[in-house]
């Protein structure tokens, strides 16, 4: 290769000339290595002293990190996760005593549940034969399987409590009031979805606890007015155990394999998708409705009607 490329300047001469030229070229290359390599190495070390200036860093973080108000704002705005938040908020809104942080905790728990849930799905088969065994398998075989299941379960319970407290706080601070009426409704739907998520997950270990909890729960559906075979007017509308709303929920007249599968799919795909959609709306509306409601300045009785008009 070298022989062919290196003779661009001269014409195809004798072998001796070619050899000399090659020798000269190689010498030059060696010389360049001797002088350039230390210089470039030094340059490289210098560059690494400030990692924030590297191309890799700047490609990830779009702005500087120093404590200027601009950068603080950009830190939030340019981050896909953090830009749920505005750049600046009411100074008292950071007070925990006001917000209780329950909305955030709920969301955080939802994330934990998603991660642990996905991992659990690796080991779980929603069939009558496998389900219970898989849970035993998780408990005894899977590395960290037991803590994984425990975290999933307790995070779910914690999430329900957090959701209730969130609603409680929102009500107590009157945060549902104009212009946030709609977002309150979205919140109510999310509350229902949270309960349904937990409820559908209850059946999955296929043990006595889950089985009977779900049996008790779904037995009420029998009595749905009009749509349940034991509900008011159900019989008149031709409802039987095999075509009523409970049958639809369970995929059968008893809690069995189909119910397990339905539960599983609602729990892992159906409800989470719906919930994520509503959560997106919920968060979006928080921003669009003017951030969190407070802490707002107190209003006086006398001002109430004034403002209304």
């Amino acid at each position: 290769m070298l022989e062919e490329n290196g003779n661009g300047t001269g014409k195809n001469g004798k072998e001796v000339g070619l050899l000399e030229r090659v020798k000269a070229g190689v010498k030059e290359d060696v010389q360049s290595l001797k002088t350039d390599l230390p210089a470039k190495a030094k340059e490289q070390v210098e560059g690494l002293k400030d990692p924030t200036k590297t191309q890799v860093y700047t490609s990830i973080f779009r702005h500087k990190h120093d404590d200027t108000p601009r950068n603080r704002a950009l830190g939030v705005l340019s981050n896909v996760f953090l830009h749920l938040h505005p750049a600046k908020i009411n100074r008292d809104a950071v007070r925990y005593s006001f917000t209780w942080g329950m909305g955030g905790i709920t969301f955080f728990l939802f994330l934990i549940l998603t991660y642990t849930g996905v991992l659990l799905m690796f080991y779980y088969h929603p069939t009558k034969v496998q389900a219970f065994r898989d849970v035993l398998y998780l408990e005894h075989d899977v590395p960290f399987g037991k803590i994984l299941r425990n975290m999933h379960r307790w995070a779910a319970h914690l999430m329900i409590i957090a959701v209730w407290l969130h609603m409680f706080r929102v009500f107590l601070t009157g945060s549902y009031k104009k212009p946030r009426e709609f977002n309150w409704n979205v919140g109510v739907i999310l509350l229902v979805l949270t309960l349904l998520l937990s409820f559908t997950g209850y059946l999955l270990p296929d043990d006595q606890l889950g089985f009977w909890a779900v049996t008790v729960g779904t037995n009420m559906a029998r009595a749905t007015p009009l749509l349940g075979h034991e509900g008011p007017f159900g019989k008149m509308l031709g409802m039987t155990p095999y075509n009523d709303v409970r049958f639809g929920l369970l995929g059968g007249s008893i809690v069995d394999a189909n119910a397990l599968l339905r539960s599983y799919i609602w729990h892992c795909i159906g409800i989470p998708l719906v919930a994520i959609t509503f959560m997106a709306v919920h968060f979006w509306r928080v921003r669009k409705d003017g951030g969190i409601s407070g802490p707002a300045p107190v209003m006086l009785e006398s001002e109430a009607d004034k403002r209304r008009t």
Binding site: A73, V94, E139, I147, E181, L195, G217, E301
Partner: protein, 309 residues
């Protein structure tokens, strides 16, 4: 006092969240109450001092001119959020390590659990089954609860108390909500978890859950009390009683509401007002029915061939 029984109930893994929720609720109510009182005092002061009202920053927290009215989310909010996330993680992990999620016997449709309980967050509904037929307790009630929650922003016309804790400005709204949430929901859950034993019988805390306990209880229907025997008459009688409850109750509510909450009364449209009265009365109907049942052993008020109330 059967401490062992008590401990068995309290330490059941799935009951631990409820046990945890009670102090949590107390703490947050205290937190809300503290701020509400501070705000109410501030309002009272400002009401008497219009001059101050004009200049005051109108929050119970201290404020000094020159302080930022708004702060950056990064870092002032995020650092709290992040801290909260860490603390939740710690709590969750410790909980998961120390307490295992329950896993009982494999499901067995032939062996009924006694008591067979729904997941704890639905125990309020299960408790209602004692007082109402499943179609009310399991279907109508939950639906009404959801709808009721959703209509709150639309019937609460009080512009005060938006974005801050207060009691004096929203006595009626907060009172009603506390009644609904604490008494009708949380208390019912606690009853369902800790009080209801085998056969869904009432066991005081510390009383042994005796599976063989038998209780003699004869429940009558309200029409029987008045010696009404014919079905038609029963239906008509029940309709009158129920209708009467809503009519007379509505009138009483109107009389009280108009008197003690004239501002809201004035602000509300006819639709808002009637919806509010309907939900309020329905809410009151629950404890009323409980009272009838527990005190007078009355099972049904309204008996028709299709449904019973």
């Amino acid at each position: 006092m059967d401490w062992r029984q008590l401990w068995e109930i309290v330490s059941a893994p799935d009951n631990v969240p409820i046990v945890g929720m009670i102090p949590l609720l107390v703490f947050y109510i205290y937190l809300a109450w503290k701020q509400a009182r501070a705000n109410d005092e501030l309002v009272a002061e400002l009401e008497t001092n219009p001059a101050l009202a004009k200049t005051h920053h109108r929050k119970s927290w201290p404020f000094r001119p020159g302080w930022q009215k708004e702060v950056h989310v990064w870092p002032f909010l995020l650092r709290i959020e992040f801290l909260a996330a860490i603390i939740v993680t710690i709590i969750l992990m410790v909980w998961s390590i120390t307490l295992s999620a329950p896993l009982e016997e494999p499901s067995n449709p032939n062996l009924t659990m006694n008591p067979a309980k729904a997941p704890w967050y639905f125990l309020g509904l299960q408790e209602m089954l004692v007082y109402f037929d499943p179609w009310i307790a399991g279907v109508v009630m939950p639906t009404l609860i959801i709808i009721g929650l959703m209509v709150i922003p639309y019937i609460d016309t009080n512009p005060l108390g938006s974005g801050y804790y207060t009691w004096k400005q929203r006595k009626f709204a907060i009172g009603t909500f506390l009644f609904g949430f604490i008494v009708l929901w949380v208390a019912m859950i606690i009853i369902g978890t800790f009080i209801r034993g085998p056969g869904w019988q009432w066991f005081w805390p510390g009383q042994t859950w005796d599976h063989n306990r038998l209780i003699y209880e004869v429940n009558r229907d309200l029409p029987d009390l008045f010696g009404i025997t014919s079905n038609l008459a029963k239906g008509i009688f029940g309709a009158i009683v129920v209708g009467g409850f809503y009519l007379i109750g509505g009138f009483v509510v109107h009389a009280l509401f108009r008197r003690y909450n004239p501002k809201d009364y004035r602000r509300m449209s006819l639709l808002q007002y009637s919806i509010m009265i309907f939900f309020l009365l329905t809410m009151v109907a629950l404890p009323a029915k409980m009272l009838l049942r527990l005190a007078l052993n009355i099972k049904y008020v309204w008996i028709t061939p299709w449904f019973n109330v």
